[in-house]
């Protein structure tokens, strides 16, 4: 039997620093361990190994997911060790996105914990000759109060392993949770602060070579010819490899690879997009927004009701392309042998990486091992496998040699996919009594085209297909007598894919700013108007509705809004030169968020700096059951900074190329721009299930801030990012 210490030594001796983040292995032949499912292995030394079936990108799943299993197991959380799952027959959906990690593993993890607990109790009851129902469990022990007997789980493993695995073990009621709902420290914390945590960029294998790729600077262009004479003269450069997307330079270190690429002479083919510009594309989106698109939600007379209203209002909002700009640029490490392949990827789609290798190398799935490595941020970028493909293509040419393929910051900024730009045109109809009776929201954007072929434009004329591109439009919780929402999708040579909160941020920005515009014209308090549009005094308005498979509960939105209004002491205090702004939203997986922000304008903003200061943020979140409240608070803080970043940066194209390349021209929010006061309030109620939080918490930040600065500037902000010129 391999002891824990021997195992660590063994792995260290076998060479890779990459094993540092992964301290345990599940050997199959060890006696008297209990492993009733792929999620769990309990060792005789008392350690409880839980598999993490989602990818850690900074959102804390390596802590929150084990908590769920440990809760139902009644494990002492100090006994828990973790290991990241790899794709295989037991783990077919490790993909991490849509703020769904907790939601989607909630049931299987509880099931796995409860099944093991049931088996341990049965083993103890048998040994004591008592009924299982008379036993209780706590902190990795089974107790029998009546006879004052107690056994540690580790003493029961062999007997428990002989018990049948219950198919439907009894689960706890949420009111019985003792671990879920308590703040827990990150498992990876100590490794991070000592520099031991191993990210994709840090993978080091014996004999490993490093690669960077020269990619076409212009959209739609390809390498027509290249001359590597000078490249091969750079000391350390080993080989130049053609890939589908560009020319890879392979060297004995990152620096030599980069210098080799600098020396490469590539002739790029002519491209039909050589004169493409983002300004031109935005003008096209604008033109299209002049007519309604495919109707995805309609009530009453729809948009026609607006024309007949006593008063009408309309406004158009713009949202730019944006990069993920995760601090760790994308990278992937692969070794390809004749009959197998192993990959180390900081990915959000481990099964996708495996499928890619299976297809490219024509290997059986069992011959492709994917190691999921810590990622320095994800934000949707790592749902792409484009960089894994490059690593595999190069590794295939370097048979048997591990290839560490990295993107530089500029590669990452320019050659990934982007958040979609969009134009939103909103209109409201107001009756003689000052009530908003009709509403229209048109969105025009570029649908996702990076991970799959762009949908045919004809497809997007089908409302059932169009609707999924318009989160925040079709599912707005507000209701009116007449309403009409529509979507128009446009083809583009620019690559578009998932980005934090995907389709929501632009829609929510436009909608929540427009609500404030309407409130200002009506001289109404903007929170009162929102509550009115949620039907708080309207017996006719249903309290919930279903659309495209989502259940929208208006009273949950009302509750979050009321909470933030109260905590912000809304309307009761004002500081000179400052204004409050507010926004609220529902995210399509069932999370409700509101933000109140207190903001002032900067007299003389420096270049690359936000032209305003956010002094105070009051956030309210209803994400159902909360597993790790400190994790939720972290995400709320993260969402504020992400939202502020989206107010100061954008990606633009000129002559078919991305203009921005690094954090100087694509600036993100910095410490000096961080609000000094952030309050996070979580709605506590008897929720039945958890919902996601990482994405929903960003959407309402930009509109809340935009609403505040519009008051201060005396003119409406309708465009992101916000520049000083927009405020004067």
């Amino acid at each position: 039997m391999t002891s824990r210490r021997q195992f660590v030594k063994l792995m260290a001796a076998s060479g890779g620093a990459f094993v540092l983040g992964i301290r345990f292995s599940f050997a199959d032949d060890r006696p008297s361990a209990l492993a009733p499912s792929a999620w769990l292995r309990m060792e005789p030394d008392g350690s409880i190994l839980i598999k993490v079936g989602k990818c850690e990108i900074g959102q804390g799943v390596r802590t929150s997911l084990p908590m769920i299993l440990a809760e139902e197991l009644d494990a002492d959380f100090d006994d828990v060790r973790i290991e990241t799952a790899s794709p295989g027959p037991d783990f077919r959906s490790l993909g991490t996105g849509g703020s769904g990690s907790i939601m989607r593993t909630w049931a299987p993890l509880r099931q796995a914990g409860a099944a093991a607990r049931t088996m341990l109790v049965a083993a103890a009851a048998q040994r004591w000759g008592v009924l299982p129902e008379s036993c209780s469990t706590k902190a990795s022990r089974v107790n029998h109060a009546a006879s004052n007997r107690s056994l540690a789980y580790r003493e029961l493993l062999a007997d428990a392993a002989k018990q049948p695995v219950p198919a439907e073990p009894k689960l706890k009621k949420p009111s019985e949770f003792t671990l879920i709902g308590t703040p827990r420290a990150r498992f990876d914390g100590p490794d991070i602060v000592t520099g031991k945590a191993v990210y994709g960029y840090d993978v080091r294998l014996p004999g490993m070579l490093y690669a960077v790729v020269a990619r076409p600077p212009v959209l739609g262009s390809k390498a027509a010819a290249f001359d590597a004479t000078e490249t091969m003269k750079i000391p350390g450069v080993k080989k130049v490899v053609e890939t589908r997307r560009g020319i890879a330079v392979v060297a004995n270190g990152t620096w030599a690879a980069i210098r080799g690429r600098d020396a490469l002479k590539v002739t790029w083919s002519e491209s039909p997009h050589a004169s493409f510009s983002s300004d031109g594309e935005v003008a096209e989106l604008e033109t299209l927004s002049e007519s309604p698109g495919v109707t995805i939600r309609k009530k009453g007379a729809g948009r026609r009701a607006i024309e007949g209203s006593a008063k009408t209002l309309n406004a158009t909002y713009h949202y730019p392309w944006a990069a993920h700009a995760a601090i760790e640029p994308v990278n992937s490490t692969a070794v390809v042998k004749d009959d197998s392949c192993e990959i180390w990827s900081p990915t959000q789609t481990p099964n996708g990486v495996q499928a890619l290798a299976v297809q490219l190398l024509e290997l059986p799935e069992s011959a492709v091992k994917v190691n999921v490595i810590l990622a320095g941020g994800g934000f949707g970028r790592r749902l792409g496998v484009d960089y894994d493909l490059e690593a595999l293509e190069v590794a295939r040419e370097m048979k048997g040699t591990p290839v560490h393929l990295v993107w530089t910051r500029e590669d990452d900024m320019r050659h990934g996919f982007f958040q979609a730009p969009s134009v939103h045109r909103l209109a409201a109809g107001i009756d003689g009594a000052g009530k908003v009776v009709a509403w229209e929201h048109r969105e025009v954007s570029i649908p996702h085209n990076a991970r799959r072929p762009a949908p045919a434009l004809d497809d997007l004329k089908d409302p059932a297909k169009a609707i999924g591109n318009a989160w925040g439009v079709y599912d707005t919780p507000y209701g009116w007598q007449s309403e009409e929402m529509s979507y128009t999708g446009v083809h583009s040579p620019t690559l578009i894919g998932p980005w934090r909160s995907v389709f929501s941020p632009s829609s929510v920005f436009a909608r929540e700013c427009f609500v404030d515009e309407v409130a200002a014209v009506l001289r109404r308090d903007e929170i009162d108007l929102r509550l009115e549009m949620l039907g708080v005094n309207d017996p006719e308005m249903p309290r919930s509705f279903e659309i495209d498979g989502d259940l929208v509960e208006r009273d949950r939105m009302v509750r979050v809004i009321e909470l933030v209004r109260q905590k912000a002491r809304w309307g009761t205090w004002h500081a000179k030169g400052r204004a409050w702004g507010f926004a609220a939203s529902y995210f399509h997986t069932g999370t409700y968020v509101a933000h109140a922000v207190n903001v002032s304008l900067k007299a003389k903003p420096r270049a690359g700096e936000l032209p305003f200061t956010v002094h105070r943020v009051i956030a309210g979140v209803d994400c159902g059951i909360v597993v790790n409240p400190d994790g939720v608070a972290q995400q709320v803080e993260s969402g504020i900074l992400w939202g502020l970043s989206s107010m100061k940066n954008r990606i633009t194209f000129q002559k078919g190329s991305v203009v921005e390349g690094s954090y100087d021209d694509f600036p993100v929010a910095m410490i000096e721009e961080t609000p000094p006061v952030i309050e996070t309030h979580i709605v506590r109620w008897n929720a039945e299930r958890p919902n996601g939080v990482g994405e929903p918490v960003i959407d309402t930040v930009p509109p809340a801030v935009a609403n505040a600065i519009s008051k201060l500037a005396g003119k409406r902000v309708r465009r992101l990012p916000v520049t000083a010129a927009d405020l004067t």
């Binding site: 602060v193 945590a197 969402g639 910095m670 410490i671």
Partner: protein, 155 residues
Amino acid sequence: MARVQLTINGTAKTIDADPEMPLLWVLRDLLGMTGTKYGCGAGLCGSCTILEGDSPVRACQVPLSAAAGNSYTTIEGLSKDGLHPIQKAWLEEQVSQCGYCQPGMILEVRALLKSKPSPTNAEIDGALADHVCRCGSYPRIRKAARLAARLGGGR
């Protein structure tokens, strides 16, 4: 190629490499010390911050030739047991999200506290003004830096 002698975390090292190679890659690729992170390679993000003596420098901006004879501290050398007051403060405040930017943040705070054991909030912000945390952990970085000062992180 050049032969350069320097000290890393108290250990003398002799490096034979391209004199223009940034110290960042010397550490990461030649010495296998991957705690110093690459984020931009252009002096813009601070992920690669290490200490030259007591001063913070960006390892991506220091060519090997300019490092000759100098003594550097990286995150691996900040403490033997991982329990430097700044590291403790970072864990206490649960700063890290993805964590990738944090070694650079921690070493920048180490340099700050060494010169100003009890910095003001503005001095903390000023020291970290050019450090990128894309995850947005700044609110906790501020708290942790203040706690680190109280724990004697400047000693």
